[in-house]
């Protein structure tokens, strides 16, 4: 294929990605090194607000932003280098905590708390998603043909359902008087509150994620099983391989590229975990890296956003994902080299 034809075919897709992904990314990267603040001045202002019957007027000294002739807020932008990154990581405090093995002090810093949970979430859910997905795929493949249709349909439900709604459905089951919470209380014989301490919330968040993503792993692996060569299985059988050995040495290697595909997608998605934090109202106990960014970005009720710190925190999230992906990307790259 000539470069020009190639360019013509790829251009629409590439342009969209450049405008809507690469450009904001560069913008955010740039922002993380600058700090823009409005110029303010102190003024004493009388404000009158209503009581129920009378009006309350108070004299307040406020810091108000200066406006220019066009009525826009005057701002000043200064280069802060890695200042915003330092504000998030708090290297001095973190190092002090690490060198004295003070886990609680380290976890008192939001970034490290978020990193701890994000990593744990990613690495606990990954094997579970793969195992459940593979298990269901094997079981479905093992079941009578007439049953497969309905079973696949039911299995796909958690994946297709709108995540916001799926999370709510699970939350309602476990919230104070939810059905499953009552069930747990009955089984354990004492009151249970799933949403009153960090570790139970974490378990629920992971449960939800596995519930939501395992069907994706299942359908991909199930499709892979359809192309499995039965001769290879029979040959292994004749060699005296046990059922376990056949799974270990024939089926799993056959599925390996798909397992890696699912791993890749899952690592990316799990590392930017966010919906669960909001959906399960976990922010009091557990936060994730993307939640941290979001928290900086959302203006508080007086309209202030910490753009600079948000940009820095999202860059840190990016770096984390890249580190996780590098082994997989290198493998894909090597394969590409080899296949040429």
């Amino acid at each position: 294929m000539k470069t020009r034809t190639f360019a013509a075919f790829v251009a629409p897709s590439l342009v969209m990605m450049l405008i809507f992904i690469a450009a904001p990314l560069l913008y955010v990267f740039g922002q993380s090194f600058y700090l823009t603040t409005p110029v303010t001045e102190q003024m004493t202002v009388e404000t009158c607000t209503p009581g129920f019957l009378t009006q309350n007027c108070t004299q307040e000294t406020k810091s108000l932003p200066k406006l220019d002739e066009a009525g826009r807020i005057v701002t000043q932008t200064q280069f802060v280098g890695f200042g915003s990154y330092r504000a998030i990581i708090e290297p001095a405090k973190a190092w002090a905590a690490i060198s004295t093995f003070d886990y609680r002090a380290l976890m008192a810093i939001d970034f490290w708390r978020a990193l701890r949970f994000t990593l744990m979430f990613t690495f606990v859910t990954l094997p579970l998603v793969l195992l459940v997905g593979l298990g269901v795929a094997l079981a479905v493949n093992n079941t009578a043909r007439t049953l497969r249709g309905p079973v696949i349909f039911v299995s796909l439900l958690p994946f297709i359902i709108t995540p916001v709604i799926g999370a709510l459905a699970i939350r309602w089951l476990f919230v104070s008087d939810g059905l499953l919470n009552n069930g747990l209380e009955w089984m354990l014989g004492h009151p249970v509150s799933m949403f009153s301490q960090g570790w139970t919330i974490e378990i629920l968040m992971m449960f939800y994620r596995v519930w939501h993503v395992a069907p994706f792993a299942f359908i991909i692996l199930y499709a892979g099983l359809q192309t499995l060569n039965h001769d290879a299985l029979e040959a292994a059988m004749i060699d005296g391989a046990s059922r376990w050995q056949r799974l270990r040495y024939v089926i799993v290697p056959h599925l390996m590229p798909l397992i890696i595909f699912v791993t890749l997608i899952h690592l990316m998605d799990a590392y930017r975990v966010f919906d669960e934090v909001v959906g399960f109202r976990a922010e009091a106990h557990v936060i994730s890296l993307q939640y941290l960014t979001y928290d900086f970005l959302i203006p508080d009720s007086t309209g202030n956003r910490s753009i600079s710190r948000a940009a820095a925190s999202s860059m840190l999230t990016m770096v984390g994902i890249l580190i996780l992906l590098i082994p997989l990307l290198r493998r894909t790259w090597a394969q590409h080299r080899g296949s040429r």
């Binding site: 075919f9 079941t143 709108t162």
Partner: protein, 379 residues
């Protein structure tokens, strides 16, 4: 199972595998079934402490709304017919038409209209028979929340917006993606591979960063586009088209990866032969590749559909009330100043928006599996 004799399994293993599958199906379906039950009960019942009250719905029954045994029977038959129609009849009809894309869209739309008509004009009167005969209802059941949501709260407007955004995302995504995916599958250059890797990295970006990056630019777009477009410069904020563009871009990496591996499974000798016969690349694509690409495109399209239909973050931040899609509209039912009634309405709305997804999977289930099997994913 009709596999080779050597692979036949012991009873224990069969049982274990069956039990595991049963348990999984229960876990997979239960939360969804439960919100369906909640959505047809009066507010007091739906959020009752005792699960039996949620199931039976005494307050709903007391209000004179319930289902008797014959009603349940009618519903079961109706649902069975629906499933049969969606999984057997519809695909056969579409296959008979011979034009996959248009066939599916028209066929599905016709099926939905027919189903709604049957639900209102056939099921409605059937369910009223028992009141005429004086049979006492067994369990509480009311469709009033659905009526409130769809008619009074004008949820159909959100539905129309969702259809618009979702179809837009799916169609644009696939059009743009098939070209790119095809070119990438046929080009072995390092540049092509670099694009793929870059796309993968783009996919890893946290969305909240992207979206909040757009917001100020979208709101002021009529100012900064004015030098280029003059007075007609649009405000991108609140434009479904802008949202479609954003969602397409976010979805592109996944789309081109999937389509690329699918196109790789189509032997390149096919289009090379066409090229030898004097076709341009585009003609070869149009006449040789397009006829055989549908399984992969349908599978990839389903993923685009899910993304467009289920998205919350982008649509909630970039659309305003007049053209909001269903998911952010539901989330606004749940917001902090709501009442219990609002919450049950939200549950009803939530169940309603899963219905199209149910239908989608029912109808396309085989295509998904066959598309994936044919190589839409090769890692």
């Amino acid at each position: 199972m009709s596999g080779p004799k050597a692979l036949r399994q012991s009873f224990g293993l069969q049982l274990g595998s069956g039990l595991f599958l049963g348990l999984w199906c229960l876990i997979a379906a239960f939360p969804i079934v439960w919100i369906m039950v909640m959505s047809v009960k009066a507010p007091i019942d739906a959020f009752a402490t005792n699960p039996a009250d949620v199931l039976i719905g005494p307050a709903t029954l007391a209000a004179g709304k319930g289902l008797s045994l014959p009603d349940l029977l009618f519903i079961a038959v109706f649902l069975a017919l629906t499933v049969r129609g969606a999984t057997r009849l519809l695909p056969r009809m579409v296959a008979g038409l011979g034009r996959p894309l248009i066939g599916w869209v028209v066929g599905t739309a016709a099926f939905v209209l027919l189903w709604l008509a049957a639900a209102v004009w056939i099921m409605g009167p059937l369910l009223r028979i028992d009141t005429g005969l004086g049979i006492t209802p067994l369990i509480g059941f009311t469709t009033e929340h659905y009526r409130t949501v769809w008619v009074e709260r004008a949820f159909w407007e959100n539905f129309v917006n969702s259809v618009y955004v979702t179809l837009g995302v799916t169609v644009v995504s696939l059009t743009v993606g098939t070209f790119a995916g095809y070119a990438l599958s046929r080009a072995g250059s390092t540049l092509a591979f670099g694009i793929l890797i870059a796309a993968l990295v783009f996919r890893a970006l946290p969305h909240s960063v992207l979206v909040t990056g757009y917001l100020p630019f979208f709101i002021t777009s009529s100012e900064w586009l004015a030098p280029v477009l003059g007075d007609n410069a649009p405000t991108l904020y609140g434009q479904p088209l802008a949202v479609i563009a954003v969602l397409v871009a976010i979805n592109q990496p996944f789309t081109i990866w999937m389509l690329r591996s699918f196109f790789q499974s189509i032997p390149s000798e096919l289009d090379e032969a066409a090229r030898v016969d004097g076709c341009t690349h585009f003609q070869a694509f149009r006449w040789v590749i397009m006829p055989v690409m549908w399984p992969g495109v349908i599978t990839t399209g389903l993923f685009s559909f899910l993304l467009g239909y289920n998205d919350y973050l982008v649509t909630s931040l970039l659309l305003d009330a007049s053209n909001q899609t269903m998911v952010p509209a539901i989330a606004s039912f749940f917001n902090r100043e709501t009442t219990t009634t609002d919450q049950v309405l939200a549950v009803a709305a939530a169940v309603s928006i899963t219905a199209p997804l149910f239908l989608l999977v029912m109808v396309f289930q085989r295509q998904i599996v066959s598309g994936l099997t044919a190589g839409a994913v090769k890692g």
